[in-house]
Subunit: 340 residues, 4 copies
C-alpha cells in the first residue's frame, strides 16, 4: 500500500513517517511540507537518517497514493478537503476539523464556523476500541485528540455500563510535544522546563470529544508538566452505585480483554502500579487504571499514553490497518523503554 503524509515536518507528521517507514505492509511514497520543501526527511527528524532518501515536497506537489494522512494544523483540513476528495484514496485526518458531529460545539470550541459541516458525518471516528466494525473498509477517518483518547479509553467502559453518576472531572497533564514543533513563548525551554502550568483551568475543547464518545458530561483541566510525549488523565467521578476494586476489574477486563493496545494497570505495589506515560514513549499503548475510595463512592480512573503514539500517529496507523484489512498490530509492536 502506497501512503503519503501531508504535513510531515511537524511532530505528529514525523511520528507517522517513522511508523510508516518501518511498517511491513506499507510503502511511504511522499511527505509534504511547504516549510521544509526540498530538505531530506532526516534534516528535520534525525531518527529517520539512513531509513529513507525521500525529501519533503510542497503540499501542491502531492502525487498518487492509496492512503493519505493529514497532519495539518487545526482548521486547515476543512479548507483542503474538497480538493483531497477528488481522488480515490483513504484519508486519515489527525486534526480536530472532523471530530465533532455537532457544528455548534465545533464553533464554540474552535472560535470559527465549520466550513464543511456536511462532510463531518462521512468521517468514521478513528478509535478502534470504540467500534472496530465501522472502521473496516472506511474511506475517511478522523482520529481523536490525545487527551480525549486517553480520557475516552479510561471512561467509556464505566460509562457504557451505566455506572457513572453526575459530572466527570478530568485532570489532564501533558508534555510539550502536544503543542507542536513551532517555536513559541509557551514552549521556550527556559519557561517550559520543570513547569506545572495550568493553562486551561476550564472549558477545554477535548471535553466535547469525550462527552460525544462516552455520553457523559465532563469538566477538563489541563496542566503542562515536564515531559515531551506523555499525556496522563486522571478522572474523578461518583459511581451510580458503590463499587469495589473487583467490580472495576470486571468491567474493564470485559471491555478490553481482546484489545491489543490497551493494558489494565492497577497493582497494589510497585513504582509503576498506576498508568505512567513515560514508559509508553514511542508505543501505541494506552494504559488504563482505576482506584476506589474506601467507601466505594468515589472512583478515580487513570489513562496514560504517548500523545504522538496512541494519542496521534500510532492510533492513526492502527486505524489504517483496520480500514485496509491489514494486521491491526502491523508496524506498532514497539513496547517502550525502561528506564527512560
Amino acid at each position: 500500500m502506497r501512503v503519503a503524509v501531508v504535513g510531515g515536518a511537524g511532530y505528529i507528521g514525523g511520528e507517522l513517517l517513522r511508523l510508516l517507514l518501518c511498517h511491513p505492509d506499507v510503502e511511504l511514497v511522499q511527505a509534504t511540507s511547504d516549510r521544509q520543501r526540498g530538505q531530506p526527511l532526516h534534516a528535520v527528524h534525525p531518527n529517520l537518517r539512513h531509513l529513507t532518501s525521500l525529501k519533503f515536497t510542497a503540499h501542491d506537489e502531492l502525487g498518487e497514493a492509496d492512503a493519505v494522512f493529514l497532519a495539518l494544523p487545526h482548521g486547515t483540513a476543512m479548507h483542503r478537503i474538497d480538493e483531497l476528495a477528488l481522488r480515490d484514496w483513504r484519508i486519515v485526518d489527525l486534526s480536530a476539523d472532523f471530530r465533532l458531529r455537532d457544528p455548534k460545539a465545533f464553533a464554540r470550541h474552535h472560535g470559527v464556523e465549520h466550513r464543511r459541516p456536511d462532510l463531518v458525518e462521512r468521517f468514521v471516528p478513528g478509535l478502534p476500541e470504540l467500534g472496530r466494525e465501522r472502521l473496516r473498509g472506511a474511506r475517511w477517518i478522523s482520529v481523536p485528540g490525545c487527551q480525549a483518547t486517553a480520557a475516552i479509553l479510561a471512561l467509556r467502559p464505566l460509562a457504557a455500563a451505566g455506572l457513572v453518576a453526575g459530572d466527570v472531572l478530568i485532570d489532564a497533564r501533558t508534555g510539550s510535544s502536544g503543542s507542536g514543533s513551532s517555536p513559541a513563548p509557551a514552549a521556550h525551554h527556559a519557561e517550559r522546563s520543570g513547569v506545572m502550568r495550568v493553562y486551561q483551568p476550564t472549558g477545554h475543547r477535548h471535553e466535547a470529544e469525550v462527552a460525544q464518545a462516552c455520553g457523559v458530561s465532563t469538566r477538563m483541566t489541563v496542566t503542562a508538566v515536564e515531559a515531551v510525549r506523555g499525556v496522563q488523565v486522571v478522572l474523578h467521578l461518583r459511581p451510580a452505585r458503590p463499587l469495589r476494586q473487583t467490580d472495576l476489574w470486571e468491567v474493564y477486563r470485559a471491555a478490553y480483554a481482546d484489545e491489543p493496545f490497551v493494558r489494565l494497570v492497577s497493582q497494589r505495589s510497585g513504582l509503576y502500579r498506576h498508568p505512567e506515560p513515560k514508559v509508553l514513549s514511542g508505543t501505541n499503548l494506552c494504559d488504563v487504571g482505576f482506584a476506589v475510595d474506601d467507601d466505594g463512592c468515589r472512583v478515580v480512573l487513570i489513562g496514560a499514553l504517548d500523545n504522538l503514539g496512541k494519542g496521534g500517529a500510532g492510533n492513526a496507523v492502527q486505524c489504517l490497518n483496520v480500514a485496509a484489512g491489514l494486521d491491526e498490530r502491523a508496524g506498532l509492536g514497539f513496547p517502550g523503554l525502561h528506564p527512560i
Copy 2:
C-alpha cells in the same frame, strides 16, 4: 535569638539552616544529625559553604537555645517530646506528629497510635494566615504539611465565606524533595525523571489536615511530577451559589490583602497567569489563583508553593518570627528566580 535545628541533614533541615544563617535577628547555634555527626554543614548542603563553620552534632548533644526546630521524620517527634519539653525554649515541629487534633484521624492516616495525644492541643497551628493572634508568644508550634498548606491557603477564604457546597477534589502535584533526602527506589533518578506518577489516588493523609483547617470534606489525589521543590494543588468544587470571577477576587482580596506571603495570581494572559510553583523556588510565597466555568457553577482553585519554603522551612521561620515578636518578614525576602 539563639536557634538550633534538630535534624539538619535532611532537605527541610537544610532549608532551615540556610534561612536561619541569613536571618538578621537569629543566631544559628547548633544543627544535629546522627548520620552526619562531625561533618561541616556544607558537606551535606553545598549552598552553606562559606556561610558557617558549624559542624553537625549528634541529637544527644543538643545544647542551649532560645528556640528549636524539629525537622525529624514523621513519628519521631512524639517520642522525643517529653525530653524536649524539659527545657524552656520555643519548639517548632515540622513533622506530622502534632498536626491532627483528632487522635483517631492520626491513627487512621499514620497507621500507629499517637504516643502523646494529650499534648496535641498544646501545639498552636503554624500557619499565620489562619490566625496570627494565637501564634504571638506561642511556645509550641506545629506547622502543616506542604500540600495541606497550599490547599488550605487556596480553599479557606471560600470555605470561610460559606461558599463551598459538597466535597472538594484536590489534585496535588509534587516535586521530589518532598519525599526526603534518603535514597529510595521511588526517588531513583532514572525512575523519577520525567515521571507522572499517581502514587496515591485516594486517601492521602493531608486530606485530614485540610478538612480540619477549612471545615469541608476533601478528596486528594497526589501525583509526582518532574520538579524538585514545587507543589501545586488544583481544587475542584461546586460553589454554594453561582459565582463570577469578580466574586472570587472580592473574597480573596479581602482575605489576603495584608498577607505578606500570599499573592493572588489570576490573569487573562501571560505564561504565568495561574500559580506556578517553579518561580517560587526558594521563596516563602504561596500563590493562589481561581477560575470559574462559564455558568459559574464550577470553581477551580489553584495553589502553588515551594514545599521546602512556604510548605515547610520558610513557613516555620515565619511562625517563629510571629511567635517571638520579630518582623514577620525577617529573613524571608527572597523573591524567587525567573527563569529557572
Copy 3:
C-alpha cells in the same frame, strides 16, 4: 535459539530482556535475579507487561540455554565463570571483568586482583566494528563499557590510519542509568536532577579500554548530566598532519561504509548536525561526527549512543547475532524517536 539473562532486574538486564523478547530468532527462556526472585518480569520492567509471563528465578536456578548473557555487577562474573564454564553455551559478559587483557591494568583500575586472568584471552572483544571475523562462532564474548564503546568508535578510524599525534583528551558525559538501578545518594533525584557533576576529573577506568582498542594514550574526564540513557564523548586531539573536513569524511566513510549501526553525522546546519544521544534512546546506533579547527591542527571527534543500547545490551545482542550466524541486524531495528 534459547537464551537466558543472568541479572535481569538491572537496567542492562532489562534492556536485554526487551530486545530478546522482540527478537525474531531467539526464545527467552529464563531471567535470573536473586533480589526479584518470583516476581513477574514486568513488575520490575513495566515495558515488558503483556510481552511475557516469565518470572525471575534465583541465580542458582539457572537452567538450560544455548546462550547466556551476564548482566552482573562488575567483579561478579569472574567469580562465577568457573561454574558457568561447565556448560556448553555461548557466554556474553557485559561486565568489566574480562575486558582488559593486561591484568595489571585491571588491578589498577578496579582496585582488586583479577581472579582468573588466565581466562581473559578466551573472551573475544564484543565490538563487531573492531573485527567481525573473530566474533563469528565465538563462544565467549566480553562487550566493552558504554563510554569506551563511544570513544573507540569515534577514535579508531583515525588512530588506525596513523593520524593521531600525542594524547587524546576525552570529555565523556553520561546519563543516570549508567550507574545502575540501585538507589544511592549520587542518583537520588533531587541531587541528580539538572546536574553537571564532574565525578571523575582524571583516571577513569574506561581510558584503558580505549587505549587497548585504539593503540593511543587517552585522558578521560566524566561528567554526569541530566539524561537517563545517553552517553556522549567529545575527543580532542592533534592530528599527525593538518587535516581538512574532507579528509575526515574520507577516513570515516571508508571505515564505516558497511556498518549497519554506525552513522556519520557532521552537517553544516540543523539542530542535530553533530551526534546527539537523546535521539538514540532505545536504538543500537552509535553516531560519530568530527570537526577541525580552521588551521586543521586540532580535531574534535564526537560519539553518541544509548548506554543501554549500543553501549550495552544492544551491542551484546549484535555480538550474539554475529557469533551465532544470525542476521546481524535481527531484533535491533528500532530507529529511535523524535522528539523525545
Copy 4:
C-alpha cells in the same frame, strides 16, 4: 543611587531588575523594552510581582539616572553608544560589543566590523577579580561573557603564575537561558530538553576573551545540556612543571583568599566535591576547582556559575558596587538553594 535598565525584558535584564529591586543602596527608576512597552515588569518576570509597580517604557523614553545597565542584544550597544555618551552616568554594558580590545578579533568572531573601535579602550573590563583598582570610580564598564567569566576565573591564577604550558582546551557546558528569551528552534522545549548538543565544536567567540584576560591560547568547545541557568567549564592543560594538588591549593588560595564571590571547591568526597552550577542558581558565586593526574603532568580546572548571576547580571551589579564605592557585596548575598 538611581539606576535604569535598558533591555529589561530579556533574561539578563530580568535578573538585573531582581537584583536592583532588592539592593539596599539602589533605586530602580526605569526599565525599557520596546517589545513589552506599557506592561508591568511582572507580566514578563513573574518573580517581580509585588516588588514594584514599574512598567516597561520604550527605549526612546529613557530618562535620568545615575547609572544605566545595557542588556541589549550583541551588536546593539555600539550603535547606541554615541547617544548614551551624551549623558553623565555610569554605563555598564553586558553585551559583547566592548569586550575585545583588538578590533580584528571582534570582526573575526562577530562577523561585522566594529562601529566604534576607538571607544573600546574607554571601557574598563568588568571583572573585579581581574583588577579591582581600575574599576573604582570607573564610568564605563564592559562585563565579560558567561563562559569566559568562568574560564578566566578558573584559569587566570595558574596562567598568571606562569604555570601553563601550551594550549588550554575548554569544554564548556551551558544551560538554555544563555541563548536568550526569544523563541527559536534551538530552544524549543521538545528539542532542547535532555539534550547534549555540541553546537560549536571549534572557534567559539569566548576564546578570544579568555586569551585576552589570561594571556594563553585556548580552544573552546561548547555543549548545550539540560539546565536553565548553569554554566560549567572544564579546562584541560599541561602545566609548565609537574604539579601536585597542594601546589594548586597554594596558587588558588593566594589568588582568591579575599574574594567574596569565588569559592574553591576541590574535595575528596561528597556529591558536590567539584564545582557544580546547579547549586549556584541565583547567586553571584563562581566556584573553582582543580585536579591533577597521578603524574602531575595533566591538570583539570573546573569553573561553575549561574550564567545570569556571576556570568551576567550579578557580576554587573558587583562591578557597579565597586565603581560607585558601595559595599561590594551589597544586594548579592543570596547563597543558593539545595536541593534544586
